[in-house]
Point group: C2
Chain length 343, copies 2
Amino acid sequence: MRKNEENKFPSELRFDLISKDWVVIATGRAKRLEHFRKEKRREIKISPKECPFCHIETQEKPVLIYSHGKKASLEKIPKDWTTIVIPNKFPAFLPYLKLEKKREGEFYQKMNAVGYCELVITKDHQKSLALLPLEHVKEVLDAYQERFLSLKKKRFVNYIFIFHNHGAEAGASQPHPHSQIITTPLVDVDLKKALFNAKKYFKEKKRCIYCQMNKWEMKVKKRIVFENKDFLALCPFASKSAFEVIISPKKHLPYFEKISEKEKWNLAEALQVVLKKLFKALNDPAYNFYLHTAPSDGKEYPYYHWHLTILPKTGIWAGFEMGARMEISTLQPEKAAEYLRKA
Amino acid sequence: MRKNEENKFPSELRFDLISKDWVVIATGRAKRLEHFRKEKRREIKISPKECPFCHIETQEKPVLIYSHGKKASLEKIPKDWTTIVIPNKFPAFLPYLKLEKKREGEFYQKMNAVGYCELVITKDHQKSLALLPLEHVKEVLDAYQERFLSLKKKRFVNYIFIFHNHGAEAGASQPHPHSQIITTPLVDVDLKKALFNAKKYFKEKKRCIYCQMNKWEMKVKKRIVFENKDFLALCPFASKSAFEVIISPKKHLPYFEKISEKEKWNLAEALQVVLKKLFKALNDPAYNFYLHTAPSDGKEYPYYHWHLTILPKTGIWAGFEMGARMEISTLQPEKAAEYLRKA
């Protein structure tokens, strides 16, 4: 019997109710809390002078522009724009006119990747969403919603995925803060599974599984990072990595795109508070955040509950995570939440 | 219509027959082939003098030792050992005596992470498996098999996962070449899904889906990287990332641990040839490789087909891959295979 065994459960498996995966919380191999505060992130060396997103208005045809909370004309781009949406120059999905399915041999299938790829860019080259004025964060959410509603109407748009990569370690190739929107002609297997499990719970218990979890979390409080009137930010029970935070509406709401003005302000606050806390606690870490909302395929998903996941890059997925697809977190979410509450 | 659309299918979705996921092959955002040849990898600065794996025989109690192809006594450790297996000092799973399940509230579930974590270490501090003598690669496979057979007998060992991380970008924390063995009390969701789909195909078509794919690949040849009498190495049709290579037995074999002496030599050759080709083609890239074989839970899996996956780190998983769980490769597997065949 090894030394660590003396501690009660320094290594445990926790069940994710939505994905039905088990994650590993292995605190025996943990760094101490302060060790998550990394040295400065690897820098992406692109200065404002070389940056393709500074002065974007002279190079690209934007599809949406905001200037200090107001929508601006696409024809007459204001010099003082604050948020701009442009097509992605390096799209993974393209606006093909047809969805062509092809076969190779007896069983291989492929199709052209029909979709739209856009970038949501805030003006400041340096300041991330944690550091911008709150109204600019709200404006970014306005842009998300507006593009979502607009892209939803297009053909072959069955899922709209909005995400944000911050830092080289999180896969960002530009240091200038920006989010990405990608539409896909199909709903990915992971979301399908989540929808399936949420639907099953909804049918059996006549309740939303996400609402039930939020209710429990508000009762026990130990994993809550922040809350306001509309939103709850918490480190989930089955955290996929240290300091994962999920922000979800307190009300049962399946569709992000139906978010109200008031809710957008409160989401902007919750998102910024969490990003600020991570900035302080982990020394401006690299991170990804992304929205999970109901598909845009025209069907109804009354049992789903949209949410936003923030994943700081506190480790690298190695062979175990890639191959066994079991994620290892080296910190209990209860401790992460406590640390973030205080930050 | 954007410029890229003129090309036929620069972006396509390919269906993975085993996972039922779609992967994105987006060559429109591709680097040219030579751009995959990265600058030197980020170095892990641990010299042989500070390395915990050099002279491990004086610090750790090994569980298996080989010296030049022969098993050595654990009592009298030879100075000239070539491969050694030791318990992992920082285990994610621990040899608890009981599998204790616990609940939190109405629906959260957890259990202690029962299992064994071991390291398979080759003597040379510098030389990776690509550069060692072939007999040392074979010896590593001997160690995998022997530990597999031994761990399989233990309680709560329902799955044995063997993997290798090479380079900091692939999650290695030590530069000294080593593989890892982790046993888990449960079969992860991903493998369950693969088993389910393989079983379904086997029942319906009275054939193994992996064998059928190999048959097709040997016919069209365009994705083959290397083959010998027993093994086929190819870039899979639905590659998860650029330069992914899968090595699988040509015969229908569900269980890695039943591998014969002759097959081990041929696997050692195939593995080393592929790693050498990657070394040359991508300038000693960071990579993970891992074994997928039937569970060790005492049940029979006649429909499964074991294989070894090699994933060079040619990109970083960002928000899209993490959140939509759709993987983007920027290179067609046919081109990757052609490039590797020539390397």
